[in-house]
Each structure stands twice: as structure tokens, then as C-alpha cells.
């Protein structure tokens, strides 16, 4: 059977600074990140023939192409479902490159999510749209259940009830991420670690979530250059080979509000992604030296560890106890500090960190990295990657 495994690689990564107020347009951020990623790869805009982004991105591919001097495009595509799109953009690019539709595709995500439109704020109009999403939201918005923190909190409460997890178990995720960010100069929370006590003392956002269970909001952009592994070998950087890429949604899936299926303690869509990744890569969890797990809210880090098979159901709290996901633990998770610590760029900054870990150039480098697992937004249809050393 034809497989795209190993055929493509991420050859360049680029980003703007991560801030709370970029002071420039989202289009400028996108262009800057795309140009930085091309420079990193040792490519020029004229080498690019494909662009991929999120459906939520406000910058059209043609606008980014105009600003960066990219000429003709033979491939453009967008991926749905918020942060769940992140690794999906690499999947789209890899599909295009592996099948000859394009030779070099840049994936980008750019936004002023802190100084512009903030995803964490309630949008009373969510339920008013005459779309399938609007009707779906209409079962929740009228009751004031309309922020991402609230949607995640509903799952978190059930998980705590089912497995005896506590707020402190969620807090340990935040502590680990802030520990990592503290030694990453690119992180917003550089040199600002937190303690579990500070997590517990932080104010309620939506019980059972404290403020420090919620990731920050950021302005910034990240771009990633995908080309064939063969070509990547001739470029400036050592390739981060796309060993596996997968998307997934589950039965009865909704946007952050899949309250009506199964037992509400798992992330079935991440289970779909996990099966796809293991199948395409022929690997299992023991083959990963580090993992980039989407951490917009702490509780879903636990669920992901279980869905991906790093531990059994309900045992993630034991897996992370005693620093299990910290840089010196049995599975270092998000050495860059994740979205809780570095920045919230809808998961794309995590893919960039995975590339650095494969290259061996991260400021918080995990020793002897051969394969890195990356996941995208949780609670929504999502995606994942396994990136490997060539």
C-alpha cells in the first residue's frame, strides 16, 4: 500500500516574537513568519508553490503570497476545527508534496489573538448562526456555556469523578509547562515558573479550572516549510521527516461540546489520530523520546496521554506525578513550555519545537531524540504528527 510515511520533511521553521500586542497586522505577522521559515530552510519565495493554513486564519493564501513575493501557487488548502488544524496543515502539505501536486508548501498561522479577537471571550452570537455549528452551539450558548474554558471544565469534572483525579493533578501540568518556559527565552513566561500552591491559589475561571489551568493568549505567527525528504537533505537544515501524519474525528463529534457520547472522560478523536500515527509509523509510545501535547487547558493533557497509549485509562495522574512529564521525567512533554508557557499560536509553535528537538537545537533539548510526537487542538476534530531524525 502506498504510504506518505517518510516521503516529506519539515525543512524550515520561522516565527515572529510572541507577545500580547504585536503592534502590526495579522498579515504582516504571517508574511514575517513565512519569510523567516524560508530563510531557515535556505529557500526563496519563488521556490514555494503551495500554501496551507487554518480555516480560522484571517490571511488569505493569495494575500500572504503577494506580501512575500511568492509567485504562482499550484496548491492551497485550509484545515477546519480551530487548533485541531495544526498538524493537519502538515498532513495537507505532505499529501501535496508526496503526490507531486506541489514541491514546496508553507504552512502558516498568524493572529493577534490577545490584542485582537480573543477566543476566550464569550460570543453571544455563537448560537445565532444559521449553520450546523450555530445549531449545535444553540444547545449550550443559551445557558451561558460558551467559553472554551467552560467546555473543557465540563469534561474535566467528569474525568475527576470517574478517576479520582484532583485539581492538583491538573496543576502539575501547568507547573511542568511553566518550568520549561522559564528556561526558554522565546517564551512569554521566560524566567517565571510557578508552584503548585500558586496554581491552587489562582482564581477560578470556570470550576474546576483555575486561571493557571488555562493557557495564555498571544499575538504572533509561526510558519513551517514542507518539501520532499530528498530535497530537504540538500537544504540548510537537517530534515525533520514526517514519519506519520493523521487527522481524526470521532463518532458523535462536536466542537468542544461532545457531551452526548461515551463517558466524557476520553478524547475519542485523539484515539483516531493515535491509531493513524501508530499504523503509519509502525511505532509505539516507547519509540518517542519527547512529545508535544496540545495544552490549551491542563485537563486534556491527561486525556491525551491515555488516548495515545503512554498510560492506561485513568492513570495519567500517576504518570505525571513526581514530574513525569517534566524535562527530566520519563516522557518530557512540551520542552518549550507549551501554550501554557511559551505562547498560544494554535499549536503551530509546538510543531516548530518538535522540529528543533529532532534537529537537536532546542534550548531545552531532550537527549538522543529520534522521534517526536505532536498533537493538535483537543476537544475538537484534531490531528497529529510523528517527526523523526533522517
Amino acid at each position: 500500500m502506498y504510504s506518505i510515511s517518510g516521503r516529506t520533511a519539515i525543512a524550515g521553521i520561522g516565527a515572529t516574537e510572541f507577545s500580547k500586542e504585536s503592534g502590526r497586522t495579522e498579515l504582516q505577522l504571517a508574511a514575517e513568519a513565512v519569510l523567516a521559515a524560508l530563510d531557515d530552510a535556505g529557500l526563496t519565495p519563488s521556490d514555494v508553490d503551495g500554501l496551507v493554513t487554518f480555516t480560522q486564519d484571517a490571511n488569505q493564501e493569495i494575500a500572504v503570497a503577494r506580501e512575500t513575493g511568492i509567485g504562482d501557487l499550484s496548491f492551497f488548502s485550509r484545515v477546519e476545527y480551530g487548533g485541531g488544524a495544526a498538524c493537519g496543515t502538515i498532513l495537507q502539505a505532505a499529501l501535496a508534496v508526496a503526490t507531486g501536486i506541489a514541491s514546496t508548501v508553507v504552512c502558516y498561522r498568524a493572529f493577534n489573538e490577545r490584542s485582537g479577537r480573543r477566543f476566550g471571550q464569550p460570543n453571544a452570537g455563537l448560537g445565532g448562526e444559521p449553520s450546523s455549528l450555530g445549531v449545535e452551539m444553540s444547545w449550550h450558548v443559551p445557558f451561558g456555556l460558551l467559553t472554551p474554558a467552560a467546555w473543557v471544565a465540563m469534561f474535566a469534572r467528569r474525568y475527576m469523578h470517574a478517576y479520582g483525579a484532583t485539581s492538583e493533578d491538573y496543576g502539575r501540568v501547568a507547573v511542568a509547562m511553566r518550568r520549561h518556559a522559564a528556561t526558554n527565552p522565546a517564551a512569554w513566561f521566560y524566567q517565571r515558573p510557578i508552584t503548585l500552591e500558586e496554581h491552587q491559589a489562582s482564581r477560578w475561571i470556570v470550576e474546576p479550572l483555575h486561571l493557571l489551568d488555562c493557557c495564555q493568549e498571544s499575538d504572533g505567527a509561526v510558519a513551517l516549510v514542507v518539501t520532499s525528504t530528498e530535497r530537504a537533505r540538500d537544504l540548510r537544515r537537517s530534515p525533520a521527516v514526517v514519519t506519520a501524519a493523521a487527522q481524526g474525528s470521532g463518532a458523535g463529534q462536536m466542537m468542544m461540546t461532545s457531551f452526548y457520547r461515551d463517558d466524557m472522560t476520553g478524547l475519542p478523536e485523539m484515539g483516531v489520530v493515535a491509531r493513524g500515527l501508530w499504523e503509519m509509523s509502525g511505532m509505539s509510545p516507547k519509540d518517542l523520546q519527547t512529545a508535544i501535547l496540545y495544552d490549551h487547558f491542563t485537563p486534556f493533557v491527561l486525556s491525551q496521554l491515555e488516548e495515545l497509549g503512554f498510560c492506561a485509562r485513568g492513570e495519567a495522574k500517576d504518570f505525571i506525578a513526581g514530574g513525569g512529564i517534566e524535562i527530566d521525567g520519563h516522557l518530557p512533554v512540551n520542552p518549550h513550555g507549551g501554550q501554557l508557557g511559551e505562547a498560544y499560536i494554535h499549536g503551530m509553535n509546538g510543531i516548530a519545537e518538535a522540529v528543533r528537538q529532532v534537529r537537536g537545537t532546542s534550548v531545552n533539548q531532550v537527549p538522543a531524540v529520534r522521534n517526536v510526537l505532536v498533537t493538535a487542538g483537543t476537544g475538537v476534530p484534531t490531528s497529529g504528527l510523528i517527526l523523526s531524525r533522517d
Binding site: G120, Q121, P122, A124, G127, G128, E129, P130, S131, G134, V135, E136, M137, S138, W139, H140, V141, P142, F143, G144, L145, L146, T147, A150, A153, M154, F155, R157, R158, H161, R203, W204, I205, V206, E207, P208, T257, F259, Y260, M264
Partner: protein
């Protein structure tokens, strides 16, 4: 019922008014009490009138009045009937006002009041009012509704001497039927999108029914509803009316950020209905710290505004 010039009710009202006017001035019952210092003191205190000529005997004796006098604006006070049983006296306007009430002109608003004072009244004088119906006009269309203006003149006498007069005019109107009393609630800001797949649910809560979609062919219950049965592909939709009993399956307590239309902290729960499906709603009439997974609840339909009713959940056990 409508009243237009030339209609029978209008003719009757006009006839009553003409009869009232023909009665001329009609004397009423004398004041219950003569002009007295305690009532003056109450009134000036309430009104904030500190003029000592009304209450200070020595000061008043040295004034042009030579004695205490009552504030002229108290004219109406002396003969105003109290809250107790009224003496059975009639005035020329009583019958007209009663007929207007019976005709549906139940609203009343005073439009004019002009008083004329002929002289100060003194302690001990017992005033007697006399009323004359002096005007009747209508029907008039006003912002308040259709109505009649009635004008009368009251003269207060001390003995045979008129001491004060008042022209008084009211509008007796029929309150507008469409939202005359504007007690409209503000629209609740968190509104659902409703389409032909979901309208049955929202229509249900408005009539106090919690409806669960039931496949018209295979009978499967489903919430949230949709156009096609995922089990048997049938588009033949029916619904069951739920018992309204359930238990909290999971819940959150929202603190931040502020949500339009709701005051934090508020509770939102996934409720598992007795029928097996789950549904999201607020848990109300219960302190947030008392809510637990597994807590038995029952539905309570709450009107959020004139158009939207939401199913909410209250504890089943005290």
C-alpha cells in the same frame, strides 16, 4: 367596544355630563375638623415651609394677620375625605366619572389644576366645599388612549364667604390594549438558532414540555436532535415528552469572564435524563457549592423573555 362621537355610549355620557352641569354648584359635606394648628404643623413640616406666621402665635400676632393663619395651598386639605368610610355626599361629577369607568375609561390622569385664594383662613373656621361641573369634552385620541376631559370647579366657603377656588381637569381614558403598560422584559441576550430540525424542542419548552426527538420508525431517542435518524436513516421524526427527571452527569461553575445576561457564579450541567439522553442546562435554586455529580434534578421551564423559554434544573431533594 369603541366609543365614537354619535355612538350610544357617547350620547349617554354627554347626557350625564349635561345633567351634571345643569345642577350648578352643589355644596358638599363640611370639613371634618375646623382649621387647626396640629394639621398646619404637619403640613408645613412635610412641605418644608418654615414661615412662622403659620405656627408661631407670638410672631403671627405681630404680623399683618394679627393671628395664626393657614397656608392658602392647604385649601383642599381641609375637606379632603380620609381613607375611612365616606359620608354619602354626591357631587355633580360623580355620576359622570362612574359612567366613564363602566364604559372602560378606567385610566385617569390629572391634566390641570389652578387655585385662586381670596383670603387667608384662620384657626377655627370650618370650610365647606362646593363643586360645579364646568366642562366635558371628548372623545379625544391621546397618547395614553381615547378618553374624555372633565373639568370642575371647587369653591371653599367659610360661612357664605368664598375663601378659595380650584379649577381641576382630568383625562379619563381607555388604556391602550397593545402594551399600554410597558412592562416588557429586556430580551435575553443568549439566543439559540432555531431551524426546522429543532423548532419542536423550543416550541415544547414554551408550553412546558421537555421534548426528546424520537425516530418515527425505529423509535430511537436522540438529543440533540437532527434531521436523519443515525440508526435507521429515517427522516420520519416524532418526539417523546420527557418525564423531566434526571441527574447531574457533570457540571461547571462559571466565574469568569462575564457572560451577557447571566450573573456569576452560575452553574451549567450536563444532565442525564431518566429516558437516557443527556441535555445541557443551568442548575438553579441551588447554591453552586451544593451541586454534585449524581444529584437528582427535575426540569423547571423558565421564561427568559417574551419569546424564549429555557429548560432549567432544580434539585429534587431539599
Amino acid at each position: 367596544m369603541t366609543t365614537t362621537a354619535g355612538s350610544a355610549p357617547h350620547e349617554r355620557l354627554t347626557a350625564l355630563a349635561e345633567r351634571g352641569m345643569a345642577m350648578g354648584e352643589v355644596r358638599g359635606a363640611p370639613a371634618a375638623d375646623p382649621v387647626n394648628l396640629p394639621m398646619i404643623r404637619h403640613w408645613t413640616t412635610a412641605m418644608g415651609d418654615a414661615n412662622p406666621v403659620y405656627t408661631d402665635e407670638a410672631y403671627a400676632a405681630a404680623s399683618v394677620h394679627g393671628q395664626i393663619v393657614a397656608p392658602p395651598a392647604m385649601a383642599q386639605v381641609w375637606t379632603m375625605p380620609g381613607l375611612g368610610p365616606r359620608e354619602d355626599t354626591t357631587t355633580p361629577i360623580d355620576e359622570v366619572l362612574r359612567a366613564l369607568d363602566e364604559g372602560g375609561f378606567t385610566g385617569v390622569v390629572a391634566t390641570n389644576c389652578e387655585q385662586t385664594y381670596h383670603r387667608y383662613v384662620r384657626l377655627g373656621e370650618r370650610l365647606v366645599p362646593a363643586t360645579r361641573l364646568s366642562g366635558f369634552a371628548g372623545p379625544k385620541n391621546t397618547a395614553l388612549g381615547t378618553g374624555y376631559f372633565i373639568t370642575w370647579l371647587v369653591t371653599w366657603y367659610a360661612g357664605q364667604e368664598p375663601v378659595a377656588e380650584m379649577m381641576f381637569r382630568v383625562l379619563k381614558f381607555r388604556p391602550r390594549e397593545e402594551k399600554a403598560a410597558p412592562e416588557e422584559r429586556p430580551a435575553y441576550p443568549l439566543r439559540p438558532a432555531i431551524n426546522r430540525d429543532t423548532a419542536f424542542f423550543w416550541e415544547g419548552v414554551r408550553v412546558g414540555e421537555l421534548r426528546i426527538q424520537r425516530c418515527g420508525d425505529c423509535g430511537e431517542l436522540r438529543h440533540p436532535p437532527g434531521p436523519i435518524c443515525p440508526s435507521c436513516r429515517s427522516a420520519n421524526r416524532a418526539y417523546a415528552v420527557a418525564s423531566g427527571l434526571g441527574e447531574v452527569y457533570s457540571f461547571v461553575v462559571h466565574h469568569s469572564p462575564p457572560v451577557p445576561g447571566l450573573r456569576p457564579p452560575f452553574v451549567v450541567a450536563v444532565v442525564r435524563l431518566a429516558e437516557g439522553v443527556r441535555m445541557v442546562g443551568n442548575v438553579v435554586d441551588c447554591p453552586p457549592e451544593r451541586v454534585r455529580v449524581g444529584m437528582p434534578v427535575r426540569v423547571d421551564h423558565r421564561e427568559m423573555d417574551d419569546e424564549l423559554t429555557l429548560p432549567m434544573w432544580v434539585p429534587r431533594e431539599p
